[in-house]
C-alpha cells in the first residue's frame, strides 16, 4: 500500500495532465481536473516551503543551543529569518512597517541588505575569473586552443570597445562572429543539447508515470 498509493497518484496525475494537453481545457472535464491538480501542486509546494523553513529553524536552533562550531552565524541566520518573516506576515493595516510594500521592514531589509549583499557576492566573481583566466586558461591542446580563440573573439564581440577593435580588420568581423559562431556552431550545438535534454525529460516522465522510476519515494 505504501508503494502502490504514491505510484497510483503519480500515474493518475501524469495521465490527466498529458491528456489535458490535447483537449480544450475550458470545455472538457479533463481540463477542469488538470486545473485542480495544478492548484494542488501549488498548495503542496507551499507546504514544502514551510517544511523547509521549519527544518532550517530546528537544525540551526539545536546548533545554537549546543554552541556548536560557528554557532554565531547560525544565530544570525535565525535572526534574519524572523526579522524578515514576521513583519512581512503582519497586516499592513496595523502599521506601514508591516507587509511587503515599499517602506516596510521587509522591503527595507531587501533593498538595503539582501540585494547589495547578493550583488556584491556575484560581483566578486569578476576578480576570480580574471585570476583564473591568467593562471588556468592555457592553449595546452588543439581543443583548448580552439576554445581559447573562440572565447576571445566572443568576448571582444560582446563589448563596444572590442567591436570597434574588430572593425579595424577587413571584412565585417562582428557580423561574421554573429552569423558563424553564435548563429552557426553555437546554435547547432545548443539545439542538440536542448533536444537531447527534452527527450531525456520525456522518458523520465514516462518512467515515473508508469511506476518504473520510484526513486522519488526513496526507493531504487
Amino acid at each position: 500500500m505504501r508503494t502502490a498509493a504514491p505510484v497510483a497518484v503519480a500515474f493518475l496525475s501524469g495521465v490527466i495532465l498529458v491528456i489535458s494537453f490535447f483537449f480544450n481545457e475550458e470545455k472538457t472535464v479533463v481540463g477542469g481536473l488538470s486545473q485542480e491538480l495544478l492548484n494542488w501542486v501549488i498548495i503542496v509546494g507551499g507546504f514544502t516551503l514551510l517544511l523547509g523553513m521549519v527544518s532550517i529553524i530546528r537544525v540551526n536552533w539545536a546548533a545554537v543551543q549546543r554552541r556548536k562550531e560557528n554557532w554565531i552565524y547560525r544565530l544570525f541566520t535565525l535572526i534574519a529569518i524572523f526579522a524578515a518573516a514576521i513583519p512581512s506576515l503582519l497586516p499592513p493595516s496595523w502599521s506601514p512597517l508591516f507587509g511587503r510594500a515599499e517602506g516596510s521592514i521587509y522591503d527595507w531589509l531587501f533593498v538595503y541588505l539582501q540585494a547589495p549583499m547578493m550583488a556584491t557576492m556575484f560581483a566578486t566573481l569578476a576578480f576570480y575569473i580574471a585570476s583564473a583566466a591568467y593562471r588556468a586558461f592555457r592553449a595546452r591542446s588543439a581543443d583548448a586552443t580552439l576554445l581559447l580563440i573562440t572565447a576571445t573573439l566572443v568576448m571582444l564581440w560582446r563589448v563596444p570597445m572590442g567591436e570597434a577593435f574588430l572593425n579595424l580588420f577587413p571584412g565585417d568581423v562582428p557580423n561574421i562572429i554573429n552569423d558563424y559562431i553564435m548563429n552557426g556552431a553555437n546554435l547547432a550545438v545548443q539545439r542538440g543539447i536542448i533536444i537531447g535534454a527534452a527527450l531525456g525529460a520525456a522518458s523520465m516522465s514516462l518512467r515515473i508515470i508508469l511506476g518504473i522510476e520510484r526513486t522519488y519515494m526513496g526507493k531504487g
Partner: protein
Amino acid sequence: MMGFWDRMEKIDRRWIYLLVGLAVIVPFLIPMKFPVSVSPEARSFYDAVEALPDSCTVMLVFDYYPSTMAETEPMAIVGARHLFSKDCKIITLTNIPYGAPSMAESVTRMVAAEYGKEYGTDYVNLGYKYGYTAVLKGMGMSIEDIFPTDNSGTPLSEIPMMDSIVNYEQISFVFEVADNATADYWISIVNAGYGVPMGVGCTAVMAPKYYAFVGAGQIVGLLGGMKGAAEYEILIEQEGTAFRGMDIQSLVHFLIIAFVVIGNIGYFAGRRHRRKV
C-alpha cells in the same frame, strides 16, 4: 628574460585584483562612451514590441535573483519604459521567491511614475507563487485561479485592469527577464502551448542557449546580458545604466583577454626554458 616570464607566471593575484578594480572604477570617473551597435536579435525583439497594438496587455516577468541585478534589471526597466510609452498595460509576476516580487514592485513603480501610470489601471504586480510549471500551465485556463490576489493581497476581482483579463488569450506578449532556466518553461509551456509571442532578456552566460530558440522562431528576439540591455536602451533612445556599464565591461573584457595572452606567453616561454634545462 626567462626570469621575467617565470615571475609573471607566479605573480601575486592581488595585482590582478587591483587591475580589475581599476578597470571597474576608471570608466566611472572618465566615461568613454564607445558606440553600441544593435544586434539583429535585439532589433527583432524591439520591432516585435513596437508592433504591438497600443493599450494591449503584456506580461513583464521578473525571473531573476538580486545577484544578477546589474545585468537583468536594466532590461526590466527598458522593457517597462517601452511598454508604458506605448500605453500597454503591464502584468508583472515572478517564479523566483527570493526578492523578485519586491524588484518587480520597485521597477514598475519607478517607471510608472515617469509615465504617469496608475497601479490597478495600468499595471498590476501578481507577485510570486510556488511551482513554475503549475503556475504557467494553470494561467492558461485562469490567471485568477492561480493568483487570487495581487502581491499586496488585494483580490484580482477588485483590480479594474484585471476585469477583462482571464487567461493568456488576453495577453499580447510576454517580456521575460531571467537569470535561470525558467525562461525555458515560458517558451515550452506558454509560447508552444498557448501561442503567446515572447522575447527573452537573460544574462550573458545564458544567451548562447537562447539563440536556438530565436533560430526556431519560438522567441521573437533576445537581449543577452548587459550589452543586450544597452542595445535596447539605444533603440528606445534612453541611455541608462546598461549603456554606462558598457565602458566598464569593455575594459574588464580587454583586461581578461590581456591576462590570457600574457599567461599563455609565460606558459610557453617557461615550457621552452624548462625543456632546455
